[in-house]
């Protein structure tokens, strides 16, 4: 065998070896990941968000993070071409020692203060205790968007270390109501070429010569939720579900937002099916009742729905999802609100690309 033939054979063997990982990988909320997204981060008059981020490896871990503000330019007006999302971004870097957890409140950020003390009673002013992971900028009010972090090596290049896990906790300022969900991770693969284009799923191409570098992004999700209703006029309850939809493709260089055409297929307990569609641009917090009337209990005729949400065929790439359901009466204390990341179905066949500025990569 010629040396050239040997190399081809070896490369083929390597590709076969990693093939199962490439084919089966999607997003995860159960295992460590190299790219972590908190799809719903809110800082406004009603809500604040706390982030927990943990290095699960027995070695140091580093990450570069971006806040992306998907709030509308004119928040009180409906979205549209004249009212696009702000799509502004703020980046920062984190460094964690082995197995280190860290946390911060988004509206406050976190400073590096070597004089941080061990937390003492009454334990209400300890947010800086511990090893500071880096300078995390505070986020001003009017922020509704996401936080994306990707693991990097010591020189700042993308690193498939799969060391990161996270949770976001949203607290309602008036009532103290809690929303907590796990960050959505993309597993880094050995094929990561560490350049400025992060390839999530897909096949080898000119822009992704090594093929998938991270697990593919889901193209469809299945959401179990109650139907919407509002009986507060008769001293009853109201129930409403909303979904944060965050496209997986990001261009942090040009800052151009991605759009996704979504189809909704809702099945009620009687196996009756209803459909709807919506187009979302950038990052969107969708109120289901505003998407279509099919989510109304009076229309769908059932208390419970399973809704499959799918990116339409003409839309390349996938998206991430956080589900939020609120139920309660008019009094704030009798409001309960829950959130979760629903199960995903199939991954997008095409790669989602995350482009980061060249200065992030040596």
């Amino acid at each position: 065998m010629t040396p050239r033939g040997g190399r081809r054979l070896a490369l083929a063997a390597w590709l076969v070896a990693v093939a199962p990982a490439l084919g089966g990988a999607q997003t995860t909320t159960s295992e460590g990941a190299a790219l972590l997204v908190f799809p719903k981060v809110v800082v406004d008059d009603q809500w604040d968000t706390a982030i927990q981020l943990t290095n699960t490896a027995n070695r140091p871990a580093r990450a570069i993070c971006y806040y992306v503000n998907g709030a509308l330019t004119f928040p009180d007006l409906p979205p549209g071409p004249t009212n696009p999302p702000l799509w502004t971004q703020v980046d920062f870097r984190l460094s964690l020692v082995r197995q280190q957890p860290t946390q911060w409140v988004v509206s406050r950020g976190r400073v590096v203060d070597d004089a941080d003390q061990v937390c003492r009673a009454p334990f209400t002013t300890c947010s800086g205790s511990g090893l500071d992971p880096g300078v995390i900028p505070p986020v001003e009010g009017g922020f509704s968007g996401e936080l994306l972090c990707y693991e990097v090596d010591a020189s700042g290049a993308p690193w498939s270390g799969n060391a990161l896990i996270g949770h976001a906790t949203l607290t309602h300022r008036a009532t103290g109501a809690l929303l907590k969900y796990p960050a959505v991770g993309s597993v880094g693969l050995p094929s990561n070429d560490a350049d400025g284009t992060l390839c999530l799923g897909g096949e080898a191409s000119e822009v992704c010569p090594s093929g998938a570098e991270y697990g593919g992004c889901p193209r469809s999700w299945t959401v179990s939720h109650p139907s919407d209703f509002d009986e507060r006029a008769s001293d009853g309850d109201a129930s409403a579900t909303r979904l944060v939809v965050a496209p997986c493709t990001h261009d942090f260089v040009t800052q151009e937002p991605q759009s996704v055409q979504l189809s909704f297929l809702a099945t009620n307990e009687f196996e009756q099916r209803f459909s709807a569609a919506a187009r979302v641009s950038c990052w969107t917090d969708l109120v289901l009742a505003e998407v279509a009337q099919i989510f109304d209990r009076d229309v769908i005729g059932a208390d419970w729905l399973q809704t499959e949400i799918r990116a339409a065929g003409q839309t390349p790439g996938g998206f991430r999802l956080v589900q939020q359901t609120a139920r309660g009466a008019a009094e704030p204390a009798r409001l309960s609100v829950v959130a979760t990341v629903p199960p995903q179905l199939d991954a997008a066949p095409q790669a989602d690309l995350v482009r980061v500025p060249e200065e992030s990569v040596p």
Binding site: T2, P3, R4, R7, A13, A17, V18, G24, Q26, T29, S30, E31, A50, Q52, T54, A57, N58, R59, R98, Q99, Q100, P101, Q103, V105, C119, F123, C126, S127, S129, G130, A154, S155, A157, W159, S160, G161, N162, I165, T169, A174, G176, L178, V187, P209, S210, T222, S224, E269, F270, E271, R273, A302, Q306, A333, R334, S336, V338, T340, P343, V361
Partner: protein
């Protein structure tokens, strides 16, 4: 040659190629088994169970609540361990009880019920209402748990609708909402059921479901679960004041097997924001639900899960069930300091590794003659059974009466059905359970003699720390690792003491002399710059030493330090960086972790883009000194980088 093969991992236990094991417990995908760790019913509490079919075909599922109930052992007849009044003159011990039921879910149908009330009339009953292609929920009957108090877990397994045999159909999706409502306030907690996927073409269809292990039919339970939490007593911003946080941990065994052995021990490793580690352990049997702050002490302020002890707000706890797999869920409670209002949110765990040993979930055999699997045998079902016995009805009409599955219903099988009709179906199992781990098999091999420290492993690991198997051995007996890129992996060296028993040196970087770990490369890494530890070791490359000659020449020493300063901690690690993907004990371990080749130290050196290997073959030569400066034998390996699409020969 043998020594090099051993060090490189060709002759010992298999290493992984960075490929994750197929399937793992997760809430991210539909699965064939779903586990709800917490189902609660009480005066102000109920649990809304959601169970959906994500597939398009109808599926059947056998489910059971598993309750822990105090039972009076050694007392007099009629005595009870009820909390008030406790009349037991013997010992009150916790016993497990199952409440089984069966559900049938049509394609893409969401099914939901209150744990308190159950589901007596399914949405599509098969009589008045039939769905697409004649599908229905016929046979679905979920018992209510009453007014409680009940604190249980729930498991559902996809089975075939005729015989009740487990089916490898990954279509179940589950959620539960714990709801608490008083006149003044309301709180709700939503969590996702933990899905355990079936592995393709491995199931034997019997009632003993094997999770993991050599005969796995379903994904293995995790080696370790990670709980990312705030320490008990932490103060967090909440509304207009602050809230005090507490976390309840619910642990339930992966196994549910009436024939298995004793309990197990669960170990907890707790890390705070300083990276400091604390540990504790406790006995475990079946299920536990308790505040983390009282797991290790009766005084929550002295708990290793408290902010008092840790001094930081956030923590990470690794949970490892020795002897039995576990599944965990956290419930995080925020109590407002001013109003006293309480809000709770679910805290779902992350998983690391897969258990080598199997866990078993044993389904209850169907009640003989209970054709609709409703939990009792009606007169209609007895008539059907008789009709099958006399041949006027096919056995498919009620296969559970055919207990030996021979296609016929014999007189003894009819008698069993009649007994079940008169006396009720057999009592649910009293449980479990722990499956002991198999002992690792010793490997009867040994390394050559070395005066100084002996290298026990020289190789690569993936960026996420999984040791790699060499791709080849070259004509010099060196392990060859083939990579598509020159960066994105970790160089791993392990060693043990040589025959002189000198303590192994720890340093990988020493500004004033030779480091203890010495690595030379035959070709330059990155830009090959000669500046030692340029920009604190995060930029710049490493020069080549083509003849790979270890000496005190300043250029050689500089090259050793230039590479060594990029190793984690710049010294031997206190705990291994490499992961053990299949283990019952720990998610991180030495690569050489079995007698007679046991590593004593490990060094890990990440290969970043700034000091990446060039395309082609680069020889890596390594030796280790002991603290007296005595070197061990030199070992070599080859890193062969073949970029994708490279056509050069």
């Amino acid at each position: 040659m043998i020594g090099r093969l051993l060090r490189a991992g060709l002759a010992l236990v298999p290493l992984l190629d960075g490929v994750a094991q197929a399937g793992a417990p997760s809430s991210d995908l539909p699965a064939a088994i779903v586990v709800y760790p917490v189902v609660r019913v009480g005066a102000d509490t109920d649990t809304r169970i959601q169970l959906s079919n994500a597939g398009s075909e109808v599926i059947d599922a056998d489910c059971f609540y598993q309750l822990t109930e105090p039972t009076c052992l050694g007392g007099l007849p009629g005595q009870s361990c009820a909390v008030e009044p406790n009349t037991c003159s013997g010992d009150c011990v916790a016993r497990q009880r199952r409440i089984p039921f069966h559900v049938r879910i049509t394609g893409r149908q969401p099914l939901a019920w209150s744990a308190r009330r159950g589901l007596t009339t399914p949405p599509i009953d098969g009589a008045e209402r039939v769905a697409t292609a004649g599908q229905s929920n016929a046979g679905t009957r979920v018992p209510g748990l009453g007014d409680g108090p009940v604190d249980a877990s729930l498991r559902c397994v996809v089975v075939d609708g005729v015989r009740g045999a487990p089916q490898p159909t990954n279509a179940l999706v589950g959620q539960a909402t714990l709801a608490q409502a008083t006149a003044a306030a309301r709180d709700a907690t939503l969590y996702r059921a933990i899905g355990i996927p079936a592995l393709p073409e491995t199931g034997n269809g019997d009632d003993a479901i094997v999770l993991g292990g050599p005969n796995a039919e379903y994904a293995a339970c995790p080696t370790v679960q990670l709980l990312e939490h705030y320490f008990s007593g932490s103060g967090l911003p909440s509304g207009t004041s602050s809230a005090t946080v507490d976390t309840e941990l619910v642990l339930t065994a992966c196994s549910s097997d009436p024939d298995a052995g004793a309990g197990s021990v669960v170990q907890f490793l707790v890390y705070n924001e300083f990276g400091q580690r604390f540990s504790t352990s406790r006995p475990f049997q079946d299920r536990v639900a308790t505040s983390m702050a009282t797991m290790d002490t009766s005084d929550p302020k002295r708990s290793i899960f408290s902010v008092n002890v840790n001094g930081t707000l956030a923590g990470q706890t690794q949970i490892n069930g020795y002897g039995a797999g576990t599944l965990a869920l956290g419930l995080e409670t925020h109590r407002d300091a001013t109003s006293g209002a309480v809000h709770t949110a679910a805290l779902e765990v992350h998983h690391v590794g897969a258990r080598v040993s199997e866990d078993r979930l044993v389904l209850e055999p169907a009640c003989p003659g209970d054709c609709n699997r409703g939990g009792d045998v009606s007169i209609d079902e007895l008539i059907t059974s008789v009709n099958i016995a006399i041949g006027s009805t096919a056995v498919d009409g009620c296969s559970v009466v055919d207990r030996n599955a021979d296609g016929l219903v014999a007189i003894n099988e009819l008698i069993a059905a009649v007994s079940a009709s008169l006396d009720g179906c057999p009592a649910p199992f009293v449980l479990p359970s722990a499956v002991p781990s198999p002992s690792p098999t010793p490997v009867p091999t040994e390394l050559p003699v070395s005066i100084g420290p002996q290298i026990t492993f020289l190789g690569l690991a993936t960026a996420d720390d999984l040791p790699l198997r060499p791709d080849a051995i070259d004509e010099h007996g060196r392990a060859v690792f083939i990579r598509p890129h020159g960066q994105g992996f970790t160089l791993v060296v392990e060693a043990r003491q040589g025959v002189e028993r000198g303590r192994i040196g720890a340093t990988t970087y020493r500004p004033d002399g030779q480091p203890d770990l010495q690595i030379l490369v035959s070709r330059p890494l990155g830009d090959g710059g000669a500046a030692v530890c340029e920009n604190d070791g995060i930029r710049g490359g490493v020069p080549a030493m083509p003849d790979l000659s270890f000496s005190s020449d300043p250029a050689v020493v500089a090259a050793m330090n230039d590479l060594g300063c990029r190793a984690y901690d710049r010294q031997a690690l206190p705990r291994p960086c490499t992961r053990a993907p299949l283990s019952d004990d720990t998610p991180f371990d030495f690569v050489r972790n079995r007698s007679p080749i046991l590593s004593e130290v490990q060094y890990c050196l990440p290969i970043a883009r700034a000091w990446s290997f060039p395309a082609g073959d680069t020889i890596v030569a390594v030796r280790v000194l002991d603290v007296r400066g005595t070197p061990g034998t030199i070992e070599e390996m080859v890193v062969r980088v073949i970029p994708p699409f490279e056509e050069g020969g």
